[in-house]
């Protein structure tokens, strides 16, 4: 026992001494720290030769030039292209994040067919055959016009191919998504009787009077506008923002005019009235004795007298007059409209009223003014072949008179059996981005056969029967035309920056192969062996310049030299007023969707972009509504409280964010949240889609969606 204890203790002591003396301890200590510095699960990006390649970003309508930094051909970073006419080196957060879209976990990695609510990855041949069979059956049933197609816009060869396919299949049901561009076009058509693209020469103006446009929140060509905004400080361009909420644009403006929501047109007309009364309009541009102008003048002066308008807008008489004086005093004033980012259409009355201001200023096609442009797409399409089924189908009436997806969906919702039997969707996500998104989702579910060409498993694609996944823009060559209201006529070429990661196809090639699978006249109408060949042939007039320089910048052709006709009679009609849905007694508040540059609309944002979103817009999976502290006080709500927000269209649980910059009685909620993409938890499943709470309001004149908000109520959860 005694010996044992002694030797035990001795051993212990000896061991301690041994551990202290042996170099093994020190070596192990060193090695373990070196191990932590080289953990195998921490990636070590391989180094290599640095190159830059230019392309064009097509995440929004701004079409900025971007330079992709590559390491041994591997794209690692996106920067703005210096000297590019749209963005000159600047770039927005979404463009920088484009590589995250490339590797997005919700990318559709191969063609897929859905049977009994389960997706199955299939070969291209199988998917195409499946789609062709479904379309063929509809055609054979002499119902070719029941095939509808939705694309984001109708510019460029890819949209051209979709439109062509719809036609040769025998359908006139080709639709594009609403944007402010459409609303402007309708307005110009109604007033001047011409079809034109609008552009605002903001860079050279000296006063921008904005009626709710999110001028620096993604409106039009975002980076172009950021640069105009920065130029304001050095070039003395004044900005006046009319909006019920202190948006970033309002905060950056020289003056913020918080008119009641939905009364922007009234204010614009009141300013017109003051200008006319004081004779402060451009007499060279306006023929004062023109009867239509006289009628307009009378209406503006009487119906929108400052005193009356002060009551409707909440802006006092003196302020209205000051606004008019500021507008009149400016040398090159310009008034702009198109709410938020301009991703939706809007009220024709509002656009017309703002257009009237520009007309009075005589700035149409003047430097620093409002440009009406004729953009020649410079495309040569060969003639098409229509078989009997196509001719018959095409001769039928379009489902809805107006070219809007909203109306199409409303029609589907209203019919017991969907008149649309097959729907092709490319570059659009109506189930997310149309107002009353839930109803749209239900409508799309009613359509028997849906083909999605999306690169991502977005809300609409989730409801499809076949996905023919597209390369995302960094993987493909395509011509794009700037659609933002910028006084530039640019056609640019995107270039593949990386070979396609997955078993996807160029959407142009998908159309070609689908047509080929349809055989007959459909196949014959697509004589090109590949999209690339089609692009080169169709863009032949500008192909040399386009392929060599990557873009063709043309001096914009002004469409209207002089205003020949100025018919604002549409404004005389009261039905043009767009009111918010819902009755005031049940819904005492007004909810306005607001755009936020850090969030995107149609396509879901990137993980980086979502990371930048304020914790007062999104916290965890909760969306916030902005509310004035005064209104919150009346409702006994404080910061962070959970409330149920109810509108005539739907309800959602949201959190309260007190913000002094919002008009009492008005609620604001950010657009761009509430995506349901389960594969991408960095972006999907966060917050509420405000489009599910606001319903569309069809404009009486254009038939486009003109809703700017909806009546709402909130109650504590």
């Amino acid at each position: 026992m005694k010996v044992d204890r002694r030797s035990f203790l001795g051993l212990g002591l000896g061991a301690a001494a041994g551990v202290a003396v042996t170099p093994a301890t020190w070596k192990l200590m060193d090695d373990s720290s070196i191990w932590t510095q080289n953990w195998p699960w921490t990636p070590v990006p391989p180094d290599g030769e640095v190159t830059f390649e230019d392309t064009v970003c097509t995440l929004c309508s701004g079409n900025c030039g971007i330079s992709v930094r590559k390491i041994n051909g591997r794209p690692v970073k996106i920067e703005g292209t210096t000297g590019h006419p749209v963005n000159d080196g600047g770039v927005c957060l979404h463009g920088i994040s484009a590589l995250q879209y490339l590797y997005d976990p919700s990318r559709v990695k191969s063609p897929m067919i859905k049977t009994d609510d389960t997706w199955k990855e299939v070969s291209w041949e199988k998917a195409l055959a499946h789609a062709a069979e479904a379309l063929g059956n509809i055609r054979k049933a002499d119902n070719a016009n029941a095939i509808a197609c939705i694309t984001d816009n109708d510019k460029g060869t890819v949209s051209g191919l979709f439109k062509r396919l719809t036609t040769v299949l025998g359908s006139n049901n080709y639709y594009t998504m609403d944007t402010m561009e459409k609303a402007w076009a309708t307005t110009i058509d109604a007033v001047n009787g011409v079809k034109a693209h609008v552009g605002f020469d903001l860079k050279n103006s000296d006063l921008i009077l904005s009626f709710g446009s999110g001028f620096i929140e993604g409106w039009g060509a975002p980076v172009y506008n950021f640069q105009v905004n920065a130029r304001r400080k050095t070039h003395g361009i004044k900005l006046i923002q009319v909006e019920p909420r202190l948006s970033n644009t309002a905060a950056a403006a020289d003056k913020w005019v918080p008119a009641k929501p939905g009364t922007e047109a009234d204010l614009a007309l009141a300013i017109c009235g003051v200008l006319i009364t004081k004779g402060l309009y451009n007499k060279k541009a306006i023929q004062a004795d023109d009867p239509s102008f006289k009628a307009f003048a009378k209406m503006a002066q009487e119906k929108y007298s400052p005193a009356r308008t002060a009551r409707t807008t909440g802006i006092d008489v003196a302020s209205i007059q000051n606004l008019a004086m500021a507008f009149a005093d400016a040398e090159k004033p310009v008034a702009i409209a198109g709410r938020g980012k301009g991703d939706s259409a809007g009220s024709t009355r509002e656009f017309a009223a703002v257009y009237a201001l520009n007309c009075l200023a005589g700035n149409i096609n003047a430097p620093g003014g409002f440009w009406l442009m004729d953009k020649d797409p410079a495309e040569v399409w060969p003639s098409i072949e229509m078989d009997a089924m196509a001719t018959q189908g095409f001769a039928r009436a379009k489902f809805v008179e107006t070219d809007t997806v909203d109306s199409l969906m409303a029609k589907v919702t209203a019919s017991a059996k969907s008149p649309v039997e097959a729907l092709l969707v490319y570059n659009a996500n109506p189930c997310y981005s149309l107002k009353n998104a839930k109803a749209v989702t239900e409508a799309v579910k009613k359509i028997p056969f849906v083909i999605s060409f999306s690169s991502y498993m977005d809300e609409t694609t989730q409801l499809a029967d076949v996905v023919l996944p597209s390369h995302m823009f960094l993987e493909r060559r395509e011509d794009v035309s700037l659609t933002g209201p910028v006084p530039l006529d640019i056609t640019a070429l995107t270039r593949p920056m990386v070979s396609p990661l997955f078993d996807t196809r160029h959407p142009g090639d998908s159309v070609l192969s689908l047509a080929a699978a349809m055989e007959g006249s459909v196949a014959a109408s697509f004589p090109w062996e590949s999209y690339d060949a089609c692009l080169e042939a169709v863009k032949a007039p500008v192909w040399k310049a386009l392929s060599e320089k990557g873009s063709v910048v043309k001096e914009p052709v002004s469409l209207v030299k002089k205003i020949e006709r100025m018919d604002f009679s549409l404004l005389l009609n009261d039905t043009a007023v767009v009111a918010a849905e819902g009755d005031e007694a049940t819904y005492p508040l007004v909810l306005m969707p607001v755009d936020n540059i850090r969030l995107t609309g149609e396509i879901a944002a990137s993980p980086f972009a979502v990371k930048t979103v304020s914790d007062k817009v999104l916290k965890g999976t909760d969306s916030f509504i902005e509310i004035n502290p005064e209104t919150a006080d009346q409702l006994r709500l404080s910061q962070g409280d959970e409330v149920t927000l109810t509108t005539p269209v739907g309800s959602a649980i949201v959190k309260v964010n007190l913000f002094d910059g919002i008009m009492p009685g008005v609620l604001a909620m950010a657009h761009g949240l509430g995506h349901t993409m389960a594969e991408n938890p960095y972006v999907g499943g966060k917050g509420v889609n405000v489009n599910a709470l606001v319903g569309p309001v069809m404009d009486a004149i254009s038939g486009l969606d003109a809703a700017w908000g909806i009546r709402a109520k909130i109650s504590r959860v």
Binding site: V91, L246, N248
Partner: protein, 279 residues
């Protein structure tokens, strides 16, 4: 450590025009993309969200309709510390010399493999410019492909922060060396945020070089550790004597006032003194 922060040494710094900043967030994302900053599923807890460049939203505290908002981008301030001797709040406390002050450039470095994660530097920094890797970084499958080799991805348990894109300075110096030049031109070394800012609100350069735009914009006072002599310019928490190398410019008085803490009445006095000093 030697203490020469004058003479021929560079002193890289940044000037941010808050009247041009629109709060668009491009700088934040450009920084994340340039520097391999990771992201998590939920980044809405801003207290554990790694954003070397963070844009704060300031309000003037007035009620509707007199409310005003200003966005304030906040990179690492690369403080010169008291007396501008390089003892910035964080560098002076790091026990393992994992963050250091470069007297040749004025840049506060961070060595990730040296840092053992005591987070003392984070406690020392009043700007919250330092971030801890609470998690191992993880990218969705395939997304690791876009990582840049210029900045090593960090492992969990270490602190990281804005480096003024120091790797870009090294690249510019290497290029100059190959072309047998001694100096790096102003436009050759620009941070990712400066380059990306679509508003041109950020200017970057050598504060010691009178030819550089940053110097001209703020006119730093060498006798007062670089305090701006432009009355519209200010530095965050000037009174703490951290001597940041990031300057802000705003025409708006409330914004300039928000840059520091003042007792009642002090701001008025400070303002008067400032205008007098520049008559």
């Amino acid at each position: 450590m030697t203490q020469q922060n004058h003479g021929n040494a560079h002193k890289f710094g940044m000037v941010i025009d808050l009247d041009k900043c629109t709060g668009c967030g491009s700088c934040m994302v450009a920084c994340m993309s340039e520097n391999n900053v990771p992201f998590k599923e939920d980044e809405s807890n801003k207290k554990d969200s790694i954003t070397w460049m963070r844009v704060y939203k300031l309000t003037n505290g007035k009620s509707f309709p007199d409310t005003d908002v200003c966005y304030l981008p906040r990179p690492c301030m690369h403080c010169g510390g008291k007396g501008d001797h390089g003892h910035s709040p964080c560098v002076s406390v790091c026990p393992a010399t994992a963050t250091d002050y470069d007297y040749g450039t004025g840049i506060v470095s961070q060595i990730y493999t040296r840092c053992f994660g005591c987070r003392y530097c984070m406690g020392a920094c009043p700007y919250h410019a330092r971030f801890f890797n609470w998690w191992d970084p993880k990218w969705p499958e395939g997304m690791e492909e876009y990582l840049s080799p210029d900045v090593s991805p960090r492992m969990r348990g270490v602190v990281e922060k804005c480096s003024f894109c120091f790797h870009r300075y090294q690249a510019a110096k290497d290029k100059a060396y190959l072309e047998e030049r001694d100096t790096v031109a102003e436009e050759e070394y620009q941070t990712a945020c400066t380059q990306a800012c679509p508003s041109g609100a950020i200017t970057f350069g050598d504060l010691n070089n009178p030819d550089h735009a940053v110097h001209q914009l703020v006119n730093p006072d060498p006798h007062h550790c670089g305090r701006p002599r432009n009355p519209k310019a200010f530095r965050l928490l000037e009174r703490l004597e951290t001597n940041p190398k990031v300057y802000y410019i705003s025409e708006r008085e409330w914004v300039r006032k928000a840059g520091d803490n003042y007792l009642d009445g002090e701001w008025e006095k400070a303002k008067m003194k400032k205008t007098k000093g520049h008559e």
